[in-house]
């Protein structure tokens, strides 16, 4: 049962990575990051079958941190939108060398 769960987790993670790499809208990037986190959560749960309950404990921690991260991240996105009137990441190039 572990192998299909890990495969599914890897698929979710890859979808998240591809979203982060290819999309330009900050909100969608954000959701992709969440997707990656959840993929990792899935693999934690699956592996807890082998290594004991600590994997499930980790999942709770990850969800807590993800919630905090979502709060901060959304606040930044809103501030960025107020300042630049857009959330298109390709338009934000202030750090160009």
């Amino acid at each position: 049962m572990i192998a299909p769960a890990l495969f599914f987790s890897a698929c979710l993670f890859a979808i998240g990575v591809m979203g982060v790499l290819t999309r330009r809208n900050a909100l969608i990037l954000f959701m992709c990051v969440e997707l990656m986190l959840n993929a990792v959560n899935l693999s934690f749960v699956a592996l807890s079958k082998l290594h004991g309950v600590s994997g499930q404990v980790f999942v709770v921690f990850v969800m807590t941190v993800a919630a905090a991260e979502a709060a901060v991240g959304l606040a930044i996105v809103i501030t960025v939108f107020r300042h630049f009137r857009t959330v298109d990441m390709a338009a934000l190039r202030l750090l160009r060398g």
């Binding site: 982060v20 990441m89 390709a90 060398g97």
Partner: protein, 722 residues
């Protein structure tokens, strides 16, 4: 427990005070000089508008500017302190000499003060060695030095650099004393370099004229070549003999066979040093230019003391040269060639100081012939008498130049070259004291009997002749040429040189003092004798030049006339150079007194013949002043231009060096390689890297995410498959 030296506890313990006194003088006069440099006033020589065009050498340029100005701020104090310290050290040295004669010691008296280089087995100490040879030199340096310091008062008093002059002169005496008193080669080297420094400072004393500054640099650079030889000799001594002090080297050298290659190499390198310092071929070129300095400096440094340091060093290292007939013959050859070469140049010089300069080079050559032939006593004897009469000649010429300048100045005449003999003539009426003293010196240097130079020169030639048959030297070979042939040839050349010496000295006297005056008529009535402070030292030196021969009268002379004991200097120096002399001559060969008398008669005939020829041939009446004289032709032109040696050296050495320096070293390496490639190049590389780095920083989050993702992928790949 070693036997205590007879000089222990006597005044000889105070030998450290002899150089220390002039050093105090240097400090005090130096402070005086700096105080005026710090508070420049109307005496600043660089403000002087006349310094550029007066005379060809620029001597007195600064003096004229201040004739109506003020003397140096500390003129009185300098006048007292400058000469007094040297006179005091002379008195102390004389007291030590008297003690030494009384003690009758044979071994050197060595005083160790502190360790200088304690490096493993190399122990170099600050130590002074007082023995018979260094005592003679100390007396000459402080004695002649005192007279020249006194003369300088009259000569330099009006100069704005008066205190600086005495500071340098005092410092010179310090280093010269260190040179002759040093108990090992490194201490000698300190003195050796120190006198070179003072010589440089004093040649370029009137440095606002670039000719004088260039002459100083030339002397310093040419001396570097010689000093390189001295250094190599010391390295060789240390690596092969393991000692640098004289006693240690002498003990170790005794274990080497005669003619060993190592000793010959050491001697030849030492002689290279001597050739530089004592102006021998091919390094003599700096000495004539050194006449750019004040004339008393020429007398003290470039005639009486510093330039004889090479002769002293060879006499001091006699235990080494005695082991190497090849090196000794080299010294004879170089000295003899230099003597006749320089004498021939002196025949056609017009500058009175240039005549004396080439004469000095020539007489130094004589001394080297003496010490090279193992006649160490004769060489040192000629060194002593030469110090007397050459110092007198230079001071006399200084007196003349001084008078000429004053006359040009007071007569408001056009300033012509005050050193050119064509502008002189008839000076004996104006300057009777200088005239008389200089004639004594001329007779002495020419080698006229009973004057000092006769005995010393005759002794060198006589010993050369004596050694040419049957001695160790005569049996040795130099590049395949038998030693006896070399010695006979150089005996002959020595006679020719003596003949030429008599001619050029008489020529100088006739053109300067006799005949009609060729000085500008406006300046003529203002020519007058120098003050007593200048003529006094001349008179003392004249007595010494006349009677200096008494130091070492030959036996045939004392046998014939009841004038006291003969060969005083010979017996005095016996403990120092005696063994080496015997080693080079074989069993002491002694020519019969009659033969010695015949040799002396030949030498005297050369001297008198030279004077006679000069009198008959030279026509001072036909001379015109320097500005209206025609160009010389043929041989005369070649001699007047000094065989074009300076021009040849300029073409072959100086200008290639300048050209290589300018194109390769300056434009190529300095500007191109260091500035272009390294300094600016590193900046360019940094800027290029920064440019690439800046392009990477696109500012797009997506790009950074790609970079991170690819990096992670790479890491995973390495961990999985690596």
């Amino acid at each position: 427990m070693a036997v205590t030296h007879p000089l222990t506890g006597t005044v000889a313990e105070l030998i450290w005070l002899v150089p220390l006194l002039p050093f105090l003088g240097f400090l005090i006069n130096g402070v005086f000089s700096l105080s005026t440099a710090y508070l420049p006033g109307p005496l600043d020589p660089s403000q002087d508008p006349t310094s550029g065009h007066s005379g060809h050498t620029g001597e007195f340029a600064a003096v004229q500017a201040t004739h109506h100005g003020h003397r140096h701020r500390w003129e009185r104090a300098t006048t007292i302190i400058g000469p007094a310290v040297v006179i005091l050290s002379f008195l102390l040295a004389a007291a030590i000499a008297v003690t030494m004669i009384g003690a009758g010691s044979e071994a050197p008296f060595i005083q160790r003060y502190s360790t200088w280089m304690p490096a493993g087995t190399l122990q170099v100490e600050w130590a002074f060695q007082l023995d018979h040879l260094s005592m003679v030199m100390v007396l000459i340096i402080t004695g002649i030095g005192s007279l020249i310091h006194l003369f300088s008062i009259g000569y330099m008093r009006e100069d704005p650099g008066y205190a600086r002059y005495f500071a340098y002169l005092n410092l010179f005496v310090v280093f010269m004393l260190a040179l002759v008193l040093g108990a090992n080669y490194p201490v000698i080297f300190v003195g050796w370099e120190g006198v070179g420094l003072c010589s440089y400072l004093l040649i370029g004393f009137w440095f606002s004229d670039s000719n004088n500054a260039d002459a100083g640099k030339k002397a310093f650079i040419v001396n570097r070549v010689g000093d390189f030889g001295f250094l190599i000799a010391m390295f060789l001594l240390w690596s092969n003999l393991g000692a640098l002090d004289f006693a240690g080297v002498a003990a170790k050298a005794a274990t080497f066979p005669v003619g060993s290659g190592v000793i010959t190499a050491i001697c030849l390198f030492l002689f290279l040093g001597c050739a530089g310092k004592s102006a021998q071929m091919p390094l003599y070129i700096w000495l004539p230019d050194a006449m750019a300095g004040p004339t008393p400096v020429s007398a003290l440094i470039h005639a009486a003391t510093m330039v004889t340091a090479g002769v002293y060093l060879i006499a001091r290292s006699s235990f080494l040269f005695a082991l190497s007939p090849t090196a000794s013959l080299t010294v004879v050859i170089v000295g003899g060639v230099t003597a006749i070469f320089a004498a021939s140049i002196a025949l056609k010089q017009w500058d009175i100081k240039k005549v004396l300069a080439y004469s000095t080079v020539s007489q130094l050559g004589y001394m080297f012939v003496g010490v090279g032939a193992g006649a160490y006593t004769a060489g040192v004897f000629h060194l002593v008498t030469h110090a007397f009469f050459k110092a007198l000649l230079f001071l006399g010429s200084g007196s003349i130049i001084h008078a000429m300048h004053e006359a040009y100045h007071e007569g408001h005449a056009h300033h012509e070259d005050a050193q050119d003999m064509r502008n002189m003539g008839g000076l004996r009426h104006a300057m009777p004291w200088t005239w008389a003293c200089m004639w004594v010196a001329t007779l002495a240097i020419a080698g006229v009997p009973v004057f000092a130079g006769f005995f010393s020169k005759d002794e060198i030639l006589g010993e050369l002749f004596e050694r040419a048959h049957g001695s160790t030297l005569a049996n040795a070979h130099w590049l395949g040429i038998p030693g006896s042939a070399i010695l006979y040839v150089f005996y002959g050349l020595g006679l020719v040189t003596a003949f030429m010496t008599a001619i050029y000295m008489t020529r100088m006297m006739i053109y300067t003092f006799h005949g009609e005056s060729r000085t500008d008529p406006k300046a003529r009535p203002h020519l007058r004798e120098a003050p007593w402070i200048m003529t006094g030292p001349l008179a003392v030196l004249a007595v010494l030049s006349a009677a200096g021969g008494w130091l070492n009268l030959p036996e045939w002379f004392t046998e014939a006339l009841p004038v006291g004991r003969g060969e005083l200097l010979h017996h005095w120096l016996e403990p120092v150079v005696g063994p080496a002399t015997v080693a080079l001559t074989g069993a002491e060969p002694h020519t019969a007194s009659s033969a010695e008398f015949a040799l002396a008669a030949v030498a005297a005939a050369c001297a008198l013949g030279g004077i006679l020829v000069a009198y008959l041939v030279l026509k001072p009446g036909k001379l015109t002043s320097a500005s209206s004289s025609p160009e010389a032709h043929g041989v005369a032109r070649m001699l007047e231009k000094k065989y074009f040696v300076d021009e040849v050296i300029h073409t072959l050495l100086v200008s290639p060096v300048i050209r290589v320096s300018r194109t390769l070293l300056w434009r190529g390496i300095d500007v191109g390689l260091i500035d272009g490639l390294m300094v600016n190049g590193s900046a360019t590389v940094a800027r290029g890297i920064a440019w690439v780095g800046a392009r990477v920083q696109s500012g797009l989050v997506g790009n950074y995410a790609w970079a991170i993702a690819l990096g992670v992928l790479g890491l995973v790949a390495v961990m999985t498959f690596g």
